[in-house]
Amino acid sequence: MKHSEKAEIFNKDEAKVNWHDKALWYVREKRDNSAHKVKGWEYLRELGSGIKANVLSNLDEYLIQFESNAKKNGIHVHWASNAEEHNEIVNSILVKHNAKKVVKSKSMLTEECHLNPYLEKKGIEVIDTDLGERIVQLAKEPPSHIVLPAIHKTKEEVDVLFQEHLGTKPSQGNPEYLVSEARKHLRNKFLKADVAITGVNFAVADTGGVVVCTNEGNADMGVHLAKAHIACMGIEKIIPQEKHLGVFLRLLARSATGQPITTYSSHFNKAEEGKEMHIIIVDNGRTEQLSREDFRASLHCIRCGACMNTCPIYRRSGGHSYDYTIPGPIGSILSPGKDLKKYSSLPFASTLCGSCSNVCPVKINIHEQLYKWRQVIVKEEKQPIIKKAILKTAGVVLSKPGLYDFAGKSARFALKNFPKFMIYNKLNAWGKARDLPEVKNDNFDEWFKKRNKDG
C-alpha cells in the first residue's frame, strides 16, 4: 500500500492525529530550546557533518583500524554483508554459549535485519528492554519512530496491553504505575538473560571501542548481567577518534529529545573478566548507497529522529505509514536505495518544505535528496497512467505559449461555467475537502493587453 493510502487510514481518527502531532511538536520545541543554549550550534552541525564526510570518504581505512584496535582489546569482530549473515552470526554466538534467553537494548540495525523473528523461530526468547521497544514488542508491532518507538500509543492503550501481557491491574493509564510494573517485569528478564545484544551509536576507530546511548540504562544492565555481549553496528557508525564524541554526543541527545546528553553514554571497550564481547559490522546495502553520489550523505545519519519530529507529514501520518524500519524523511531517502519498487511512494510523501534538512544535526540535505529520488523513480519505476499523462502533457503545453494560452482559457471557462457535479467528482482529489478557486475576471494576460491598448 502506498504511503498516501496508509496515511489516509491513520487520519480517520483526527483526535489521535492531533495528539500525535502535538506530542512530537513538543519534542521538536524542546530540541529548539536546548539547541539555542549551545553557543555555536550551527558550527557544531557543520563540524559533525564534516567529520561524517571524512569518515565516508575513508571508510575502508577507518573500519580496518577499528577492527584491529578492537581485536587488540580482545573483542571478537565479525563482518556481515547482509541481514542474513548478521542473523546467522548472532545465532552462532548464541549456540556457542548455549543461550536461550536474550535481552536486547534498542537497535534499529537488528530491526532492519529482522533479528527477533529469526531468533524466535529458533526457540530463543528475545526481550527488548527499552520501555518503548518492549511496548511495541508486546503489541507485535514494529517501532513507529526510531527514538520514541511507541509514540503512536496512548498511555491508556499501554495500560490495556500490560494487563493482557504482564497481568497488571487497570490503572487508566497511570504512567508511574505502568513504568514500575514494566521495571519489575524487565528486571526479571535481565537477571535470567544469557546474552545481551546492543546496538552501537558510535564506534571509535582509534580505540576499537563502541558507545551506546540510552536513557534507561538498559544496555548497561543487560551487558553487565549476561555472560556475553554482542554489539551490532552498521559500517557507517564509525567516528575517527574518541575526541570526536564530544561533537556527536552533544548533537545527538539535543536533536533527539532536547536533553543536553543522554542519561547513559556507555563505553564498551573490552569484555569484563571471564566474559565475551562480540562486534558485528554490517553492510546490508550501505556500500551500494555509498556509491550513489547524490544520496551518499544519507549515511551521515546518527539516528536522532529530529527530522521525524519536525516533519509535518510524519507528525500527521504516523511512522507505520512509511512501512520501513526507518520512517520519516530520512527513511524516505534511505529506503528507495534498498528497494526502489517497494518504497517508490515515500520520496513523494513530502512537500519539500526543507525543515528536515534544517534540523538535521549532521546537515543531510534530505529535501534535496527527496527531489532527486523523485526524478530517479519516475524514470525507473512504472508510474500511474493518469499522473504520467497529465504531467507529460503539461510539459508540452508549458513549452508552447499558444497551447498554454488555450489550456488556461479552457480551464478558466470550465471553472466558471461547468456545473458543480462535473467539477467536483471522484477524479478531483483537490475538491474532496477544498473549494476550487473562483474565476471572476480576465486572466492577467488579457488585462495587460487591454490596459496597453487603452493606455
Binding site: S350, L352, S355, R374, L391, V396, P401, A429, F444
Partner: protein, 245 residues
C-alpha cells in the same frame, strides 16, 4: 535597471489581482518594468513530481523570455526558488546563469535591491503571515524556527511598516501549510489535514486576513476556508503592500 515581470502560470489564470498589484507596486516605485509576452511557467510542478526531464521546454522558454533583463521579479517564492535551484537541468550557458542569478522574489527585491523600507501603504486589519517554505527555507527570506541565529524576516519588515496593520503572532510561526504542488492531490488526506491545522492557528490567533509571498499556499488555504465557511480572508502580500499607496 530593466526589470522583467514574471507572473506564475496559476497566478496569471486564477489570481490576476495578485499580478496587477505586483505590477502596480513596481511601477509606483518607478521601476522600469516589462511584462514579456508568451511566458508560461517555471516548470516547478513537473520537477517536483519527478518529471524534470519533461520540464526542459518550459525552463528554456523561461530563459528565452527573461534573458535580456537586469532583474526578474515574481510574486512567488517557490517559482523563484525553482528557477534558482533546479534550472541546473539546462546547459549552463551564460544566459541561463544570468537568469538564475538575477531572479528575485518580490519582497526580497523590494528590500534587498530597491532598499525599500516604507511603501506608504495602509491596511487597517489584523494580519497573519504564512511564511511559505520555499521562500523561507529555500530563499532565506527570513530566519526559521529550527535554525539558531538572529531573527529576521523580509516580509515582516515590509508588513510592519503598513499603516494600521497589526501583525498577529502565531503559535507555529513557520509550519508548512501542506500544499506542496502535486502533493496536494496525491497525498490529499495529509495535505488537507496540514492546511486545516494552519488555518486553525490563524483563527486561534485572531487573524482577519492571511497573507504570504506565495499564492499557491494561499490557494490551498483559501480552498479550505471557503469550503468550511471560516471567517478569514486571503490576500497576497503584494495586494496588501499595494493598498492605498
Amino acid at each position: 535597471m530593466k526589470v522583467g515581470l514574471f507572473i506564475p502560470c496559476y497566478v496569471n489564470q486564477l489570481y490576476p489581482q495578485v499580478a496587477i498589484a505586483t505590477l502596480e507596486l513596481l511601477e509606483k516605485l518607478n521601476v522600469d518594468v516589462y511584462y514579456p509576452q508568451g511566458q508560461t511557467c517555471c516548470g516547478q510542478p513537473l520537477g517536483n513530481s519527478g518529471y524534470e526531464e519533461d520540464s526542459k521546454g518550459a525552463c528554456s522558454l523561461f530563459v528565452e523570455n527573461f534573458k535580456e533583463y537586469d532583474y526578474i521579479v515574481g510574486p512567488s517564492g517557490s517559482c523563484i526558488y525553482h528557477v534558482k535551484h533546479h534550472f541546473d537541468i539546462l546547459e549552463q550557458t551564460p544566459e541561463v546563469i544570468r537568469v538564475r542569478n538575477n531572479a528575485y522574489e518580490l519582497c526580497e527585491f523590494l528590500v534587498k535591491i530597491l532598499d525599500v523600507k516604507d511603501l506608504g501603504a495602509s491596511f487597517p486589519h489584523k494580519v497573519g503571515l504564512h511564511k511559505s517554505c520555499h521562500g523561507l527555507r529555500g530563499l532565506k527570506l527570513g530566519s526559521c524556527s529550527e535554525m539558531m541565529g538572529p531573527h529576521f524576516s523580509t516580509e515582516e519588515d515590509l508588513l510592519n511598516k503598513v499603516k494600521g496593520l497589526k501583525l498577529m503572532s502565531l503559535s507555529r510561526k513557520d509550519e508548512c501549510c501542506g500544499f506542496g504542488g502535486t502533493f496536494s492531490v496525491f497525498e490529499e488526506a495529509i495535505s488537507v489535514k496540514m492546511g486545516k491545522d494552519r488555518v486553525q492557528d490563524h483563527l486561534d490567533s485572531d487573524v482577519e486576513v492571511i497573507t504570504g509571498a506565495d499564492h499557491s499556499c494561499l490557494m490551498h488555504l483559501e480552498g479550505l476556508i471557503n469550503r468550511n465557511k471560516q471567517p478569514l480572508k486571503v490576500m497576497h502580500i503584494a495586494e496588501i503592500l499595494n493598498s492605498s499607496l
